[in-house]
């Protein structure tokens, strides 16, 4: 019997994080991918895929986190992904928490915008994600993280 493709979530905040995520798409082939970001109009950049939005937060704090979590929970329950991949930022930490609860593998790729040190949210991700990688070899060495290369 042919197995249906496994489901995954690819999630990123709006702006550069989303552009970074789009550049990872060739790695998702063979998976049934649903995307999550923070702007409704981004749906047009992933035609044919399921697309959801969660609130953004330029000043991230506990209240903002729970607002994101409240929107992220039904998405995760509906999608039941086996894996979650994110390029940040802080609001997407909610999906790492949900990934743990639902038994999904989670990958945090720290943004290429952080050439001199891991992001604050990346530091939190180290305690939550299955795997955290940096895109800069020097940062990866200092943080004892793997570096698998960069989005360009």
């Amino acid at each position: 019997m042919v197995q249906p493709p496994r489901r995954m979530l690819a999630v990123a905040s709006g702006g550069g994080h989303w552009i970074e995520l789009l550049r990872l798409r060739p790695a998702f082939s063979g998976w049934d991918v649903a995307y999550v970001s923070t702007f409704a109009n981004y749906a047009t950049t992933v035609p044919g895929a399921r697309y959801y939005i969660v609130p953004d937060a330029s000043r991230f704090n506990k209240i903002a986190f729970f607002k994101v979590l409240a929107k992220a929970l039904p998405i995760a329950l509906k999608e039941r992904p086996s894996a979650i991949v994110t390029t940040g930022s802080a609001p997407m930490l909610a999906f790492l928490v949900l990934g743990r609860l639902l038994g999904a593998r989670t990958l945090w790729i720290d943004s290429i915008a952080q050439p001199k040190g891991i992001s604050l949210s990346g530091r939190v991700a180290k305690r939550l994600a299955t795997t955290v990688v940096s895109q800069w070899p020097e940062v990866a060495r200092a943080e004892r993280l793997p570096c698998w290369g960069a989005v360009l």
Binding site: A27, T45, Q114, T130, G149, L152
Partner: protein, 174 residues
């Protein structure tokens, strides 16, 4: 003398105001009425008086304006830098400064430094340099051989793929 029809597209990104950049680009637009300037100003309080502007464009329209412009001026956000490299568009970068309240850290100064050597990209930090380069790059565009690929490096794609092919972990607490 600027060629007629030379178009400038400028963007502060999709988050956080960047007053200094919007004012400076708008001043140039005021002094150069023959060159159409369009700015995505995000949450910036100051509204341009000379340039046309939008708060935030849908990403596909952003992309069309980027593709159509002769010079892209932007903050040192990676979304802006990556898209300009993808579109093989010459770019003038003004990094945000933490001590001016333009961002929470100085990582844009670090990013600008790391990408300053790329063909097609020039970094500025003062109004004089910005205005001089805006005029100069329209008259004498930077030479860019090729666009970057539309995807991450083969190494990163292979890493993500092998992560995805890995085993399903046991649920938390197990």
């Amino acid at each position: 003398m600027l060629g007629r029809g030379a178009v400038i597209f400028a963007s502060v990104g999709s988050m956080l105001p960047f007053e200094r950049m919007v004012r400076w680009v708008d001043q140039w637009a005021g002094a150069n009425p023959e060159a159409p300037v369009f700015i995505q100003i995000g949450e910036t309080a100051y509204e341009p008086r000379h340039a046309r502007f939008a708060r935030i464009l849908p990403l596909t329209e952003f992309r069309e304006r980027l593709r159509a412009c002769d010079l892209f001026v932007a903050h040192a956000g990676m979304g802006s830098i990556l898209q300009a490299l993808e579109e093989r568009k010459q770019m003038l970068v003004l990094p945000r400064h933490r001590d001016r309240g333009e961002h929470t850290t100085d990582h844009q100064i670090d990013s600008a430094e790391r990408f300053a050597q790329r063909p097609g990209l020039r970094v500025v930090d003062t109004i004089e340099d910005l205005h001089r380069e805006m005029t100069g790059l329209l008259a004498n565009p930077l030479v860019i051989d090729a666009a970057i690929a539309d995807r991450a490096s083969p190494e990163l794609l292979a890493g993500v793929r092998s992560f995805l092919d890995g085993p399903r972990p046991s649920p938390a607490g197990a």
